[in-house]
Point group: C2
Chain length 364, copies 2
């Protein structure tokens, strides 16, 4: 593995493929952190295993497990899934496994962004985060891919989506947050995205999902389903705090043009009814330093947009909500060549994210 410090992917002819382009495989991390996952992670691991098997049905999956959890991961995951030992601070592969870029010859390289647990000492979610921050490089080493060193720029994979044709979509609430790159202007941040992702236009949604503790990652509110078309998390309930947020995103998208000059077609994906954490669930979470990580009644950032596109499937959450079926049918209509697999994801949601957050694709 060579560490590239003196060039950028775009300058070298590399670009980040869209998630719906062909994958060589996918990476996940086995969950165990007891202040993120209730009752020591047993329920979360069951849900992760279901996600893993749904992904492994159509692409090679590597699951990273700590030394402590390795034997357990190996026992719970089927033989087609590769399990490797790797330390992390939690299980958010999307946010700290490498963003992969590819060139015209099919060469793949990784990007090692800086990671500071969604806001560092300003408003980050845990401390320390050094093992997470090591993972991108370790994964590239494991996979024999050269890696661009961009640790001086804080970015989580969940805060960006690309259409594969020159457009990146992100949110102002996250990328302009005070806990990430406060010394940089919007223009400077946009320039980094253009230099590293091979894009020429950045779409800036104003915000993400209400009470999303990532400062509003785009991958929980809006995703490209093909070039020029997005799925947007939507509610018709004008009393809900989410209403104005989704509406603001819709208005932005309606006025936007992508890198090819196209208008954006927006497909509304309904949100489930507000999901709140129970007292019993909170009692199953260890404290982080001196503080509880959740309080009873706290709203969780549930959204069907947090799906993963594998080579053969759409792996999406369900919440036991009446909108589960409608959301599934909409996504099935948007991805006619992939089968939608829906997984009960409350036990992932309690950790603070969902299926897209716990996966990272490796382009073919």
């Amino acid at each position: 593995m060579n560490i590239i410090k003196d060039s950028t992917p775009t300058a070298d002819g590399f670009r980040m493929p869209a998630e719906y382009e062909p994958h060589a495989g996918c990476i996940m991390i086995f969950p165990e952190r007891p202040d993120s996952w209730q009752y020591g992670g047993y329920a979360a691991r069951k849900a992760f295993v279901q996600v893993a098997e749904a992904i492994a049905a159509s692409e090679k999956l590597t699951v990273c497990a700590s030394a402590r959890q390795y034997d357990n991961a190996r026992a719970l995951l089927s033989s087609r899934i590769r399990v490797v030992e790797m330390s992390s601070d939690d299980a958010w592969a999307r946010d700290y496994c490498p963003t992969f870029v590819r060139n015209g010859k099919g060469e793949v390289r990784g990007i090692d962004w800086g990671f500071n647990a969604w806001g560092g000492l300003y408003d980050g979610l845990y401390f320390p985060w050094d093992n997470d921050n090591r993972m991108a490089r370790k994964i590239c080493d494991l996979m024999d891919k050269d890696v661009y060193d961009k640790r001086d720029f804080i970015l989580e994979g969940g805060s960006i989506h690309v259409d594969g044709e020159g457009t990146c979509m992100t949110t102002e609430s996250c990328l302009l947050s005070k806990g990430r790159n406060p010394q940089m202007s919007r223009e400077q941040i946009e320039s980094v995205l253009m230099q590293y992702l091979g894009v020429s236009r950045v779409l800036w949604l104003p915000c993400g999902i209400y009470h999303d503790e990532t400062n509003g990652h785009v991958d929980n509110i809006c995703a490209f389903v093909r070039p020029g078309e997005v799925a947007l998390a939507w509610t018709e309930d004008e009393e809900d705090a989410q209403y104005e947020m989704s509406r603001a995103c819709l208005e932005y998208l309606n006025s936007a043009r992508d890198a090819k000059g196209r208008r954006i077609t927006v497909h509304k994906l309904p949100l489930p009814k507000p999901v709140t954490v129970t007292k019993e669930e909170c009692e199953g979470l260890d404290a982080c330093w001196d503080e509880p990580t959740r309080t009873a009644g706290e709203r969780l950032a549930a959204s069907y947009v947090n799906f993963y596109i594998s080579n053969g499937n759409i792996v999406m959450p369900k919440f036991g909500d009446p909108a589960d079926d409608k959301a599934r049918d909409i996504l099935q209509g948007l991805f006619p060549h992939r089968k939608v697999v829906q997984i009960y994801a409350r036990d992932i949601l309690i950790g603070g994210g969902n299926i897209h957050c716990i996966t990272q694709q490796v382009p073919r």
Copy 2:
């Protein structure tokens, strides 16, 4: 990775290739155990890095490092070497990384032997050894190779050599030791070797190198250099305890036939003068439980036979002994198509083994 429990390599058409057959690569483990490696392993790591670079010059090398040592390994090893995170109890890749077997189609599988730290609770060298014992399977998983489960049979890779043409060579002192498989007869042990290594004849040298704490691994006293020919560690000093041991091996080999019915040609490789550990070196070793792992003046099992055959090189130890050059010239003569690289290995020897012990080849 599939775990194969109901068949054996020989029955499935697999055999262990000789070390001089082509390799896909090699595996090493980064040393850190402070009761094995003096002064926290700094000198040992320098020597391991030299061995690693010599091997990586002609084949793909993967170095396994603990989470604690990963960054250091990555910093000390060149970019052509892959570093992966993996827990172990020490750094003896030969003895607990998988023995690989190959079939006629070029498929490669691993064997996961049981490992009990060279004698378990009877006369093993440390406790516990569970992380070592996990490694064979983890390596197969990492490399996407199916693995034969033979954990019910205790065997270290350093206790066997094969000629690639149906012959395995081992030592009675090790394989018939009380700390390994005492419930099995010599015939039963021979039968396991035949079922797992694809061999039809087992050569039983009586013993290994004097004071070798592995109960006399064959890889420290005798190695195949090609089918029908071996290099045997030898001393002309009749006063030395090693003299009768090497002579007994020579006599055995002179009377033996290999699987093809050939007599064995024996090339004598001189031993260095007895090497003993110094008081200062002992002071640099932590205690293991309540006991020192070395005592001043203790003889170390130094031998030039403990070399590694890479695709392009012979990587062999030197000790600052007058016999260094002679041993090198003999090996160079025996391997005319490979370049002999000699590495000062006292800091490996203090740990209890040498270059062959810290490597494991992966056949192409």
